[in-house]
Subunit: 181 residues, 2 copies
DNA sequence: ATCCCGATGCTAGCACTGCTAGACAATCTA
DNA sequence: TAGATTGTCTAGCAGTGCTAGCATCGGGAT
């Protein structure tokens, strides 16, 4: 039956959604197999019928987040160019810290360079590249990496309260100015 | 007796040194209280006579690393200006990934903004500021934060193999060019 | 309608984690 | 030498990720 198939897929999505909610609410350390299985109202082994291990669940959250992030960046860039994109990127990292951490700071199974699940990664990278391209007079790809790293650095250091909160917009502004010249 | 005091201090240093070695060899996940206590040839409770918990040991490694990093940045800046400093910063992160992670990517007790243990943090930040200062026509501190974030972003994304390895020096070069104009 | 079998879900448990109480031994003080 | 203090260990607790093995339920064949 494919009703079963649908029910199964729905449950898989429920697991991912719940894991993400738990993580955003109490941090990834609070997302244990026991708490998660209790939250979805199934026993622990059910989780392993859907995902190889806990790491795979985090990866699933990361992929969902990546899709979201790509969409956010796209519309922000179309509306506000590189400045809008930079603001949107850091905004996303602040609004969904656990999801952002799943994508970028926690160790994941996601292989970035290879041809495994790179489609959404390429799309996101493409958004960054499109924002940077008008200001690159040489190697667009490398400048994109530099710009992306700069954004990620601000997101990461921001999240651990290592940068002065009041200067948040100033930092974005300065970074954009550096790139646009 | 202060012979005891010295022996005790030496043992504390041994714990930190060993934790760091274990982390650099096999990653922080492999640094458990049991493995660490076995490596220093004491039982687990001894660790807790020196440190409040495992987190405090990581913090101690981070502080040691921060002192090292400050010294590295200083001599690199004096010899090679901002370009030398950038190269040295990323070099340190690559050569001591676990130590760098203890300082910046793992969650630590280190409060950065407050007046608790900020001396070495201020010194390191000062090195970055000194490197950036000649090229800042406005707010040095904010530009330093932007530059630092950009370096940290490259270090972090580099460590997780998310940037093309071959373009490593190109990225440093581009970043330096952005700042120096 | 009944039997069977595969899928689905659970209980219980393993080896590991950080951390600690309480017993024992070694050392210094008087 | 007796007492106190310091140091160290064994044993154990609660919690972790993960899995073997047993129930139970539903759909298809006879």
């Amino acid at each position: 039956m494919d009703r079963r198939e649908r029910a199964r897929a729905e449950r898989g999505a429920l697991i991912v959604r719940t894991a993400r909610e738990l993580a955003e609410a109490d941090g990834w350390d609070a997302v244990t197999t026991r708490r998660l299985s209790e939250a979805v109202e199934y026993s622990q082994p059910v989780l392993y019928g859907h995902f190889k291990n806990m790491q795979a669940i985090v990866t699933a959250v990361a992929l969902d987040g990546m899709v979201e992030l790509a969409a956010v960046l796209r519309s922000a860039r179309e509306a506000g160019g590189i400045r809008g994109l930079a603001e949107a990127y850091l905004g996303y990292a602040e609004e969904h810290p656990a999801t952002y951490a799943a994508i970028f700071t926690r160790r994941t199974d996601l292989v970035f360079g290879a041809a495994e699940s790179p489609e959404i990664l390429k799309i996101t990278f493409g958004e960054l590249a499109a924002a940077v391209e008008p200001y690159a007079n040489g190697d667009v790809e490398t400048l994109t990496e530099v710009f992306w790293s700069a954004l990620h650095g601000q997101a990461a250091l921001n999240q651990e309260a290592r940068l002065r909160p009041a200067q948040r917009t100033d930092r974005i502004e300065q970074l954009v100015k550096l790139v646009t010249g």
